[in-house]
């Protein structure tokens, strides 16, 4: 069978990325231009600044990727691109670049859902098999997705308010840790003890998540301590907060495992790099004899390799688009 090379482009938030993946699983080259140092100055991603940076970076990122892979555009079979969800101004740059390349080289254009991309990051580590349960946890998303086969997505539940990564960053800000605070909270959690009592979010029987109550509880706790002239013990707060997050995520995963036929479990997204979350999920899978994979750290955050991997399956299933496809800030996974 002929090898299929997909060039992927990702620009849904603050990373401009291009990757070339062979047959959906073999990464030949990936280039990521991160804007994190710019957005740090503002305490979070500023959409207009992100869009401006994408325009500056886009051609250099694609060129470097082709050079690293030692390939030309004519060697590429199809162009996969994130069309949503994400920041609309950011999405438009990657999408317009992909459309232009598709037009110039008369190549199929393959629109890829960002969450599908995150799930397929795992496919670059280990071949995914089905039925599969996926927990997508990032700064913009918290979703539990069930898949009976490739591209067969059933969203079991999602966050009703803040994404888990967003909650991490906000809690970090409360205790004076600069953006992005998630990785730092994870480090501090290993030093501290669970000494603060924080509420368990959304204690119901659904697959949904809610993190705004937990975030407010941390803000209130900090406020109360300040009024008493005390300051929060950052390490203990991190440990207490992370314990609640881990328990909340695990509870929904365990519920899905008990109710669905699941052979394989994957996690995805920036928060999937969190060590406590990984070990707790691994333990659940081991106890339930479910095979699992976690993306390597480089595939947890936004990257185009995951888009090219998912794009391969969309492409071989004939799911291509015309030049008039639009970016969508919010769109269901299908």
């Amino acid at each position: 069978m002929k090898d299929i090379y997909i060039l992927g482009i990702e620009s849904s938030c603050d990373e401009t990325s291009c990757s070339i993946v062979k047959n959906g699983r073999e990464e030949l080259a990936t280039v990521i231009s991160s804007q994190i140092d710019i957005h740090k100055n503002y305490g979070g991603v500023v959409p207009e600044i992100a869009s401006r940076q994408h325009v500056k970076n886009i051609t250099m990122v694609i060129e470097e990727c082709l050079e690293q892979a030692k390939m030309k555009m004519t060697d590429i079979d199809a162009i996969a691109v994130t069309y949503g969800p994400g920041l609309i101004g950011s999405l438009l740059i990657g999408l317009e670049a992909a459309k232009t390349l598709a037009y110039i080289y008369d190549k199929p254009l393959v629109p890829v859902h960002h969450i599908a991309g995150h799930i397929y990051a795992n496919n670059l580590v280990k071949e995914m098999h089905f039925p599969l349960l996926s927990l997508v946890i990032s700064g913009g998303h918290t979703e539990l997705v069930y898949m009976r086969d490739h591209l067969n997505f059933e969203k079991l539940g999602g966050t009703l308010d803040d994404a888990v990564g967003e909650c991490y960053d906000k809690v970090a800000r409360v205790v004076g840790i600069p953006y992005p605070g998630g990785p730092q909270i994870d480090k501090l959690a290993h030093i501290g003890k669970v000494n603060y009592k924080l509420p368990s979010p959304l204690n119901d029987d659904s697959y949904n998540f809610s993190f705004s109550g937990l975030k407010s509880a941390v803000i209130n706790l900090n406020h109360n301590e300040e009024q008493k002239g005390h300051s929060l013990n950052k390490e203990d707060l991190a440990a207490s907060f992370q314990k609640v997050v881990v328990d909340t995520l695990c509870k929904r995963v365990e519920k899905a495992i008990s109710e669905k036929e699941i052979k394989y479990f994957v996690t995805a997204g920036g928060v999937a790099a969190n060590s406590d979350i990984r070990s707790a999920l691994a333990q659940i899978c081991d106890e339930n004899h479910i095979e699992y994979s976690f993306p390597s750290i480089k595939y947890c955050t936004d990257n185009a390799a995951m888009i090219a991997s998912a794009g391969y399956y969309y492409y071989i299933n004939g799911r291509t688009a015309t030049l008039d496809i639009n970016a969508q800030s919010s769109v269901d996974l299908y």
Binding site: N41, V46, S51, R52, E96, L101, Y103, D324
Partner: protein, 212 residues
């Protein structure tokens, strides 16, 4: 020589193909919010209408702002990817410079783009298209005073729904004239092309302390 002209800095798509001294094809479409979905399709359609393939273009003349932030970025992304990947020479011009290039009897041309909150992007150009007041983000009333103090024979050129003190002409680009004027302008590296926003983002202004 085939020249591709592209301007998506407003709600309109202005695109054209000029071969030597004649206009082969043009698209002047109000696209508004559909700019992102339709701009490239219209360009492809225009190219096909004159039986040109993407690599039949010898030079791209791109308008890189100021104007709608998103609009600027759409055209710039298309043009820089096009120029980079096919190694086609590309030059950039200002939207205000293009707007100032009209054929009439006024001494001064004042292209104006609405920047909201009583501000505009504007410049003042003489009959030879030389800038008299450089392109800038300026309070509308300040611009009007500057123009009135300079001459009695001026015209504003705009596509926006703004009230201006003086004669106003609707912008309808003469693509052949614009391309003829700028086709020999120095080319730039496609990677280096960026929008000329003429204005920082609000977050940058706040960080710099220029607004509170």
């Amino acid at each position: 020589m085939n020249y591709l002209y592209l301007d998506t800095t407003s709600s309109f798509l202005y695109a054209g193909i000029v071969r030597d001294d004649s206009l082969l094809a043009e698209k002047k479409e109000y696209l508004g919010k559909d700019l992102s979905t339709k701009a490239l399709s219209f360009i492809a359609e225009m190219m096909a209408s004159v039986h040109l393939k993407p690599n039949d273009i010898d030079k791209i003349i791109l308008v890189n702002g100021p104007g709608s932030f998103t609009g600027c970025r759409i055209g710039i992304t298309i043009a820089k990817v096009y120029a980079w990947t096919l190694n086609i020479p590309i030059t950039v011009i200002s939207s205000l410079e293009a707007m100032a290039l009209i054929d009439d009897e006024y001494d001064y041309h004042v292209p104006v783009i609405d920047a909201r909150r009583d501000y505009v992007y504007a410049g003042i150009y003489d009959l030879e298209n030389n800038p008299i007041l450089k392109n800038q983000y300026i309070k509308k009333s300040v611009l009007e005073t500057a123009v009135e103090n300079m001459s009695d024979c001026y015209v504003y050129i705009t596509n926006d729904d703004i009230v201006l003190n003086g004669d106003v002409k609707k912008y309808d680009p003469n693509i052949l004239m614009i391309v003829s004027k700028f086709r020999d302008k120095e080319c730039v590296n496609p990677h280096s092309i960026d929008a000329d926003y003429l204005k920082l983002t609000e977050a940058e202004e706040k960080l710099n302390g220029s607004i509170s």
